[in-house]
Symmetry: C2
Subunit: 334 residues, 2 copies
Amino acid sequence: MPRVSAIGEHALVERVRARVGAPPSWVALGIGDDAAVFESERGTLNVVTTDSLIEDVHFRRRWTAARDIGHKALATSLSDLAAMGAWPRAALLSLALPAELSLEDFDAIIDGFASLGQVSGATLVGGNITRSPGPLVVDTTAIGAVKRRSIMRRAGGRAGDELYVTGTLGAAAAGLAMLTDATDRNELSPAASGCLARYERPQPQRRCGVVVGRSRAARACVDLSDGLADGVRQLAAASGTGAIVDAAAIPIDAGATQWAAGTSQDPLEWALSGGEDYELLFAVSPRKRRALLAAVRRCPGVSITRVGRLTTEAGVWLETGHERRPLGSGFSHF
Amino acid sequence: MPRVSAIGEHALVERVRARVGAPPSWVALGIGDDAAVFESERGTLNVVTTDSLIEDVHFRRRWTAARDIGHKALATSLSDLAAMGAWPRAALLSLALPAELSLEDFDAIIDGFASLGQVSGATLVGGNITRSPGPLVVDTTAIGAVKRRSIMRRAGGRAGDELYVTGTLGAAAAGLAMLTDATDRNELSPAASGCLARYERPQPQRRCGVVVGRSRAARACVDLSDGLADGVRQLAAASGTGAIVDAAAIPIDAGATQWAAGTSQDPLEWALSGGEDYELLFAVSPRKRRALLAAVRRCPGVSITRVGRLTTEAGVWLETGHERRPLGSGFSHF
C-alpha cells in the first residue's frame, strides 16, 4: 500500500470527498473549495468547538487502530457540543500527516471520522491536509446548533444545586491502563473489552445533552473529558461556588473496578482524574430533580447518578465517609 | 520568563481570554466554555475554513517572530474566506505547544492572532490548548458570512473567461529565500524588507474578495496560497476548462526581481510555485471586465492584472512569447 506522500495533497482531498459522499442540501459548498458554505438552522445559534488529538500525547499509533483515531477525534468535539445542549451539524478535519503514513491508515482515519459523523449528523464539509515532520495531528472543528433557551453553560450553577453525572466513570482510564500494561493486546481477557472500547471508541452523550438542554432542568453542564475532578472544579469556578463530591456515590465503572482489583491501581483515581470518559456533569436545582430524571429517561441506555452538590463555602472537596480532602485537579495536558 | 508547561492549560486559556477582551454582542458565549456560541448574520450563509501552521514545515521558530506566527495563522484562513467573497466574523485557535515554549512567545502568538482578528473583524471565540511532543502546531478555524448571490466558487469559470490576479507575486517566496540564504537576518538590506514582510506578515485581500463578490463581476475565484500555477490548475480543473497563462503578463514583485538578480534564482518560478502570496485569482467574463476593474478601484492600494484565460482545449499552459510549456503544479505540502 502506498504512502500518503506518494499521492499528494490534492489527491488526498479528492479521496476524502469520494469516501464522504454528497452533503445534505443545506450545505451550499462542501469539500474541495477554499472554504465550505452552509446555512444555519432557523431559530438557532451556532455552537463551535475545536480539539486536537496528537500522537504520543492522546494516542499511540502502535495501540490505536487508525479508524479509532478518526472516531475519537470527532467524538471529543461532539462531547463538547453535547455539554452545551447543542446538536452537531458540520465538521472540519485538519490533518498533519507523517509522510510515511499509509494510504490504508489515511482512509481508515477518514472512515472512522465520517461514520461517527454520519450517525451523529455531523457532515464533514471541509478541512486541510498538510505534512507533519513529527507526530500525526488530527484537529477537529465541530459546528452545532442550539436554541437560545436551551444553552447550558458552565457558569449557570448556584450553591445548593445538586451535581449529577451520566453513565459510569473510570472506564477509559482503565482501558488505557490495560494497554499500557499489556505486552500484547490480544492477550487481554474478553472482560477487558468494555473498558478498551470506552477508551478507543468513546460514545459522547450527544442525545442526552440535547434532551436535558431542551428540558431546561440543568442550570450548568460540562463534559468530563478531563475527569470528574476537573469537571467539578471548572463548573464550580465558573459558577462562583464551592463543591462537595461524595466519593461513595461516584458511579465507578464495574469493568474498571474489576481490572483494578488485580493491580495496585485505584479505580476512584481513574474516575476522578483519568479523563476521557466523555460523560456529562450537570448542576441541577433540587426543584428540577424530577425534570432531570424524566429527561434522562428519554435517553435509552443512559444512567444518571447524583454525586455531590455546589456549596456557598469556597473550595472543592471530596467527602469519603469520615473525612474531607481537596479534590485533585484532574488530567492536565501539561 | 516561565514556560507554558509551568502554568498549565486552564491558566493559559485564562491568559488568552484576558488578552483578547470582551466579545461583541452577537457572541453569546466566548472563550472558556466547552464551546463558543454565536448568532449568524441575518440573510447570510456561514463560511468556514481551517488551516494549519506547523513548525519546520510552514515556519521556523528561529526565523519567525512568535507574533508573526500568530498573525500568519489567521491570515491564511482569512485569505480563504476572501476567496469565497466572505467577510470574517469569528475564529478558533487550536494550539499544540512544546513544553519549553516561553510564556512570552505564547503571549506574542496570541497577540499576533488577536490583533489581525481585531482589524479584520474575526473575533477569537474559542479554541484548544494541548501539549506537543514535537513541533509547535497552530491550527486556525475562521468563520465568515456571505450572501448567497455573492459566493465565488472555484467551479464557476467558463472557457473564454479572463484570468486576473490581485497585487504582485513571488514576494513571499523571495522573502523565504532571503531568510534561507542569510546567516543573520539583521544583515539583510532595507530593500529586502518588503519581501520579508510579505512572507512574515501576509495581508490577505479581505476587502477585495468581498467587494468583487458583491459586484458579481467574477465567475470563480481561488486564493494563491500555493502559487499561481496551483491556483490556475485548481480553478481550471474545478471549472472543467483548460487555461493559458501569459508569462510576460505576470505581475512579479519588483523586490523579488531585484533580489533574484543577485542570485541564481528565477523570480518567475517564485511567482508560479513559491506560494504564500495570498493574492486572489479571478475568472471573469470579458463582458464583466469593466465591472471587475470598477470593483477593484474601490479597494485602496490593490492592483489587478490580467494574466491569462480559460480555454476550451484541455491542459494548463504557460505561454512565453514563442513557446508553450505545461504550467507546473505549484507548491505541494508533501
